[in-house]
């Protein structure tokens, strides 16, 4: 019988547990009690009734107990029925052929009952387990969907806020162009508008960096293109600071998110133009060590406040005597972006004066690809 054992049954051959031992003894007791009761009733009922009572007990036991105890009950009650109830009593010997048949039938029915019922229960248990697993998966999926939904909402909100803030700035810009360059008041408005634009963009970028809605999209690029993209939006500010660029021409193609890196460099350069006196150089040095790109941006300004080398990457940090008109977000964004790209940024005062920012970024290079 055990050869037809269902493969879907859970791995059950565990060592006999305490509960199972209890079931074995209960089974024996039950058979004993039923046998005694039927022994008393035998003159009124006949031995077939006893067989039915035993069968019923096995079926009932099967619905609650494990396979072992039920099969044991089947065997024991068959033997008890034979020994005590089938004539001639008190022997395992059977006289009449029909009693012989009855006994065999009882034995087979009892055994298959026990087996079928326990197998049914095993299958039920597996089903329940599957159900539970599916519930669990559904719950996980639901949670992921919720998360994606909230992220999308966040992004939509950010987009709409960005649109609302940028539109008036764009309108002012276009209107100023219409006014022409001659008017000194218009020039002031333009300066203020540019500043406003920077602030708005910084806040939006900071939000984006913090919401982790930022996914770097690396592609092959030329470091020269990155520098071009970084310097283009701040051409006016950079006009007063000649750029000294070294090491970029020796670099192979690099795989990185050029837009994000350009933004980091743009922020650093803009920072440098604000702190370093007009006319001083800003130096950019690029080098590649293994698969790490190193970029150094150095100005010839007053250098960094002592002990603030790490603090200055914090949000809203403003150096003690920094010029008015900064948000204190530029460097925090720079660090956020670098970390989003699995790189990092640090700062120190150069031994010969001026602030130096060092960027490290893991990149794939062309030859290594």
């Amino acid at each position: 019988m055990s050869a037809t054992d269902s493969p879907s049954a859970p791995p059950s051959p565990t060592p006999v547990s305490l509960a199972e031992v209890g079931q074995y003894s209960c089974g024996l007791t039950l058979v004993f009690v039923l046998a005694s009761t039927c022994w008393v009733l035998l003159p009124y009922t006949g031995d077939l009734f006893v067989a039915l009572v035993f069968l019923m007990a096995i079926v009932l036991a099967g619905t609650w107990w494990n396979r072992g105890p039920v099969l044991m009950m089947a065997v024991v009650s068959a033997l008890v029925w034979n020994y005590f109830f089938i004539p001639p009593q008190f022997t395992l010997h059977i006289d009449k052929p029909q009693d012989m048949v009855m006994f065999s039938l009882f034995f087979v029915v009892a055994l298959s009952m026990g087996h079928l019922i326990t197998r049914l229960r095993a299958r039920e248990a597996t089903l329940a387990q599957h159900h539970q697993e599916r519930e669990h998966l559904l719950e996980l999926k639901h949670r992921a969907e919720l998360l994606a939904e909230s992220e999308r909402l966040h992004r939509t909100l950010l987009d709409s806020v960005a649109h609302e803030l940028k539109t008036p700035i764009a309108i002012i810009r276009t209107a100023l162009d219409g006014l022409g360059q001659g008017n000194p008041y218009a020039k002031e408005i333009e300066t203020a508008n540019r500043r406003l634009q920077r602030i708005v963009e910084s806040f939006l970028e900071m939000t984006r960096v913090e919401s982790e809605a930022l996914e770097p999209q690396p592609d092959w690029c030329e470091i020269g293109d990155v520098l071009h993209a970084a310097t283009k939006p701040i051409q006016e500010e950079l006009a007063a600071h000649p750029l000294l660029i070294t090491g970029t021409t020796d670099l192979p193609l690099l795989r990185l998110d050029s837009r994000l890196l350009a933004q980091v460099l743009g922020n650093l350069l803009h920072n440098a133009t604000r702190y370093a006196p007009a006319g001083t150089h800003i130096e950019i040095a690029a080098s590649l060590a293994g698969s790490t790109l190193e970029l150094r941006v150095r100005d010839h300004g007053p250098g960094l406040p002592l002990g603030a080398e790490d603090q200055l990457f914090e949000k809203f940090y403003r150096a003690p005597d920094s010029p008015a008109g900064g948000t204190g977000l530029g460097l925090a964004i720079a660090r956020g972006l670098m970390r989003a790209m699995k790189g990092d940024i640090e700062a120190h005062t150069h031994p010969t004066g001026g602030a130096e920012f060092v960027l490290h970024l893991p990149v794939k290079t062309r030859s290594a690809a």
């Binding site: 940028k166 700035i169 810009r173 162009d177 219409g178 592609d219 993209a229 193609l253 050029s258």
Partner: protein, 221 residues
């Protein structure tokens, strides 16, 4: 006189653009939303369309798709920053170029002029961009009348850029036209060839400007 259609949901923006364009001799019509914009385009047959991507209701991409079903009119996209993927999508379904808000008037007008100039320039077998000349008949290039030695791939690449001189060409568009989409790591090969081209052209000719995340633009020096 050119006719321009402005599709933008910001009334003030429309008014300003109308002033700017009318001062340059454009005849202007406008629409505040996509569906109306399409109707205006069908009715007025403009020579150029300025399309805002962030329209309420039917968005700019959808408007452009519908427009392209029946019209070949040059389209300039007005977008805000950080919409690179949408910009690329717009360019690939047929927009001609884009400006990013806030934009300068000079930049806007320059882009409009360039995109209106296209399509009529393919009458001859020669493309001229500043000092650069491409002879499509003999597959030869020259810079200041001095022959420029180019490999076939470089020539094909330069041809695509020169045909779109002053306009942005997305990376995919270049890949499709030069390599017919057959390359294992397309962008890598593209960068290498662009690099070679830049070196060969040097400072004398037009510059190949990269716009991160979007593509390339050949600019007259």
């Amino acid at each position: 006189m050119s006719k321009a259609l402005i599709i933008d949901d910001e009334q003030q923006m429309r008014r300003l653009l109308r002033m700017v364009l009318e001062s340059r001799g454009y005849e202007v019509c406008e629409a505040a939303e996509g569906q109306l914009g399409l109707q205006e385009a069908a009715f007025h047959r403009p020579d150029v369309v300025l399309l805002d991507l962030g329209l309420p209701g039917m968005n700019g991409i959808e408007v452009l798709k519908r427009l392209r079903e029946w019209s070949d009119v040059p389209v300039l996209i007005l977008s805000v920053r950080d919409q690179e993927t949408i910009k690329v999508e717009a360019l690939e379904i047929g927009a001609d170029d884009y400006v990013t808000k806030p934009f300068g008037t000079a930049e806007l007008l320059a882009r409009l002029t360039v995109i209106q100039r296209r399509r009529f320039t393919r009458q001859s077998a020669e493309i001229v961009v500043g000092a650069l000349k491409l002879d499509l008949l003999h597959h030869e290039a020259s810079l200041d009348d001095a022959p420029l030695k180019l490999t076939p791939t470089e020539f094909a690449l330069l041809k695509v850029l020169a045909e779109h001189a002053g306009r942005i060409v997305t990376q995919n568009q270049i890949m499709k036209q030069v390599w017919a989409g057959q390359s294992s790591d397309p962008s890598e090969g593209l960068r290498v060839h662009i690099n070679h081209l830049r070196k060969k052209i040097g400072d004398a000719g037009p510059r190949i400007v990269n716009e991160p995340g979007i593509g390339y633009r050949l600019e007259e020096a």
